[in-house]
């Protein structure tokens, strides 16, 4: 309770504690509660879940999804979707693997080219959405199909099969793996470095969102692009930059997966785009834009990883995972609605 010795008129207005309200307004509240509940649930019913090796296991499952969920959350706060992000990870993996194995390029050079591809895909997505005013849902759905076709078609033409393998024989593989896909021993458990990348990306995204000018613009273009434009926010550039961030980070994540598995399937990545969006929504992002958080999206991905591996740990049929996920998504959406209604009711 803010106990300012104020006049009666301001007293009546500070009826509800500012701290309570501010807490309820946090977009990541639902995801934090959910993550805790899921953790306690699986830690109680299985022994392995809360052990260091168990934790390393589900963190590993959550990390690539988490990195993507965070940047997808930025885009969603900016009011747009990217359905091509999942397939983009496969495209990048294929670019790296094909260039390194079939054309003998150094893995790092191949990675640089994959980044350029990512930037270009994001640029096309962004420019088309901004210029035409079409829903990003449709524009990126088109990009999704284009990339999916290219992944299969080009891979078949070059390798004659629908996969590229043997990345571990390429030059530069070891150093690239050390940066993107190795494991580090902590408390006797092998923790994948992607987990640290995930934490780093979440921290950086949170900083950008809350403490920089572009962060303010991201909230504004998602909340009301017209209002943002009329006060001089470069709305189009902000949106294009967000699309480019998503597909470029997708290129990094795709490279991480390729380095880890040393082979890439041409049909990989399909369906992942929805996992990114689901994690972001569980983390408190509004589908309509203008509201959400990077930490929330990271927590959403954490819930995802814990549930996926928890079901395995519990020895259940993994078919139940989708049921669990569906219920979780509905619950999260309802909770978001409730939290926002609560926040708005307190307006007087």
């Amino acid at each position: 309770m803010t106990s300012a010795p104020a006049a009666a008129s301001s007293d009546e207005r500070v009826l509800v504690s500012g701290i309570t309200r501010r807490f309820l307004q946090r977009p990541e509240l639902g995801a934090a509660v959910g993550a805790l509940a899921v953790f306690i649930f699986f830690a109680t019913i299985t022994d392995a879940f809360a052990r260091p090796s168990g934790i390393a296991n589900w963190l590993d499952a959550a990390a690539p999804l988490g990195i993507m969920a965070v940047v997808v959350a930025l885009l969603m706060i900016g009011g747009e979707f990217d359905l091509s992000a999942g397939v983009m990870t496969a495209t990048a993996g294929l670019v790296v693997a094909t260039l390194a194995t079939e054309y003998g390029l150094n893995v790092w050079l191949a990675f640089a080219i994959a980044l350029v591809v990512g930037l270009a895909v994001g640029l096309v997505n962004g420019v088309v959405v901004v210029r035409t005013g079409l829903p990003s849902f449709i524009v990126t759905l088109g990009m999704f199909l284009v990339l999916q076709g290219l992944n299969l078609g080009v891979t078949k033409v070059i390798t004659g099969t629908v996969q590229v393998r043997g990345l571990d024989d390429a030059s530069g593989y070891d150093s690239a793996r050390a940066v993107f896909a190795t494991t580090v021993e902590i408390f006797g458990a092998d923790v994948r470095v992607t987990v640290f990348w995930w934490i780093g990306v979440t921290a950086l995204a949170t900083y950008v969102l809350l403490r920089t000018r572009p962060g303010n613009w991201i909230f504004a273009v998602g909340g009301s692009a017209t209002a943002a434009r009329s006060v001089g926010v470069p709305a189009s550039r902000t949106k294009i930059a967000l699309f480019m961030t998503v597909s470029t980070v997708a290129a990094v994540v795709g490279t991480m997966q390729a380095l880890r598995l040393t082979s890439v399937q041409a049909n990989a990545g399909i369906g992942l785009e929805f996992e990114f969006i689901i994690a972001a929504v569980i983390g408190g992002c509004l589908l309509t834009g203008g509201f959400g958080s990077a930490v929330g999206a990271a927590l959403g991905a954490l819930i995802f990883g814990m549930a996926k591996q928890g079901i395995v740990f519990a020895g259940w049929d993994s078919d139940w995972f989708m049921l669990f996920l569906g219920l979780l998504l509905l619950l999260a959406t309802l909770l978001n609605l409730y939290v926002r209604k609560r926040a708005e009711v307190m307006k007087r």
Binding site: R21, T212, W217, V231, G232, F291
Partner: protein, 280 residues
């Protein structure tokens, strides 16, 4: 040049002036032969029914449209604004009905949106959050707006408070002329009163306020001059001493009678004001 009553050549202290200004959209004349002067520390009300040309006039003033005829002067210098940013740079701020506020964002984030203060250099350049918060609070307080919590989303404010935040923002960012587009039209009686108080507050800070409305009851208490538009033409530009509230209302709602009145006003010099029932 045949000036309407109250524009006597270039006015020294005028912040903004339009002379015989006109605008066509295709073959539709949206505005024709309208003149007005905005001086510091005064409130100029632009009244008219829907389709009277109010929006066209303010869009020209705000740089969103360009005029086809007449002159537009800022500080006595003829201008032709091609972008709203140019108007802003010259200190002409427009608060539109939709307010240009983002409902889901905190008040302080909205207040500095597009002009965020920063600290640090290079990659460490960041949004100066504490300065933004304290400035927002102080500026709103200076305008007599006592917000509870600058963290509050703008969407949770009442309509009048939202208008006030938008006005305070325009004042803070150096507006000399404040154009308010129907700020009271969507508000209840009490809320409208709150906004009118801020209009007066802005005037007392020395701003030239252009207050667009179709409600003479809101215009009369705060206005110093009243420009009345009908079908894109001026029905006259009156000082407050030249007409009382009843006349203003009658002018606003006159219908066919107004046409005759227009002719009469065009002939009559300033002093000979319209007595009630002069028509015919």
């Amino acid at each position: 040049m045949t000036s309407p009553p109250n524009v006597d050549g270039p006015t020294a202290d005028a912040l903004l002036e339009v002379r015989e200004i006109g605008k066509d959209f295709g073959n539709v004349t949206a505005l024709d032969g309208v003149s007005m002067t905005v001086r510091p520390g005064t409130v100029t009300c632009v009244l008219g029914d829907n389709g009277a040309g109010k929006s066209t006039l303010i869009k020209i003033l705000a740089g969103a449209h360009q005029h086809d005829r007449g002159e537009y002067l800022i500080d006595g210098e003829p201008v032709r604004l091609t972008h709203p940013r140019e108007a802003l740079d010259r200190g002409i701020a427009t608060v539109y009905q939709d307010l240009a506020l983002v409902p889901l964002m905190a008040i302080w984030r909205n207040f500095f949106l597009g002009s965020e203060p920063t600290k640090g250099w290079g990659p460490a350049r960041r949004f100066d959050v504490s300065a933004a918060k304290s400035t927002t609070r102080a500026e709103l307080l200076a305008m007599g707006i006592d917000i509870r919590d600058p963290e509050q989303p703008v969407g949770t404010l009442s309509g009048g408070e939202r208008q006030s935040v938008a006005i305070a923002r325009a004042v803070y960012f150096g507006a000399r002329v404040l154009i308010l587009d129907e700020p009271t039209s969507a508000l209840g009686v009490k809320q409208a009163g709150v906004v009118l108080r801020y209009v007066v507050m802005a005037r007392d800070r020395g701003l030239g306020v252009v207050f667009i409305t179709h409600n003479p009851h809101h215009a009369y208490p705060v206005g110093d001059r009243f420009l009345i538009l009908n079908r894109g033409r001026s029905l006259g530009d009156f000082g407050k001493d030249e007409l009382d509230r009843g006349e203003l209302i009658r002018l606003m709602s006159g219908g066919a009678e107004l046409e005759q009145l227009t002719h009469e006003l065009e002939r009559a010099p300033t002093g000979d004001s319209v007595g009630p029932g002069t028509a015919g």
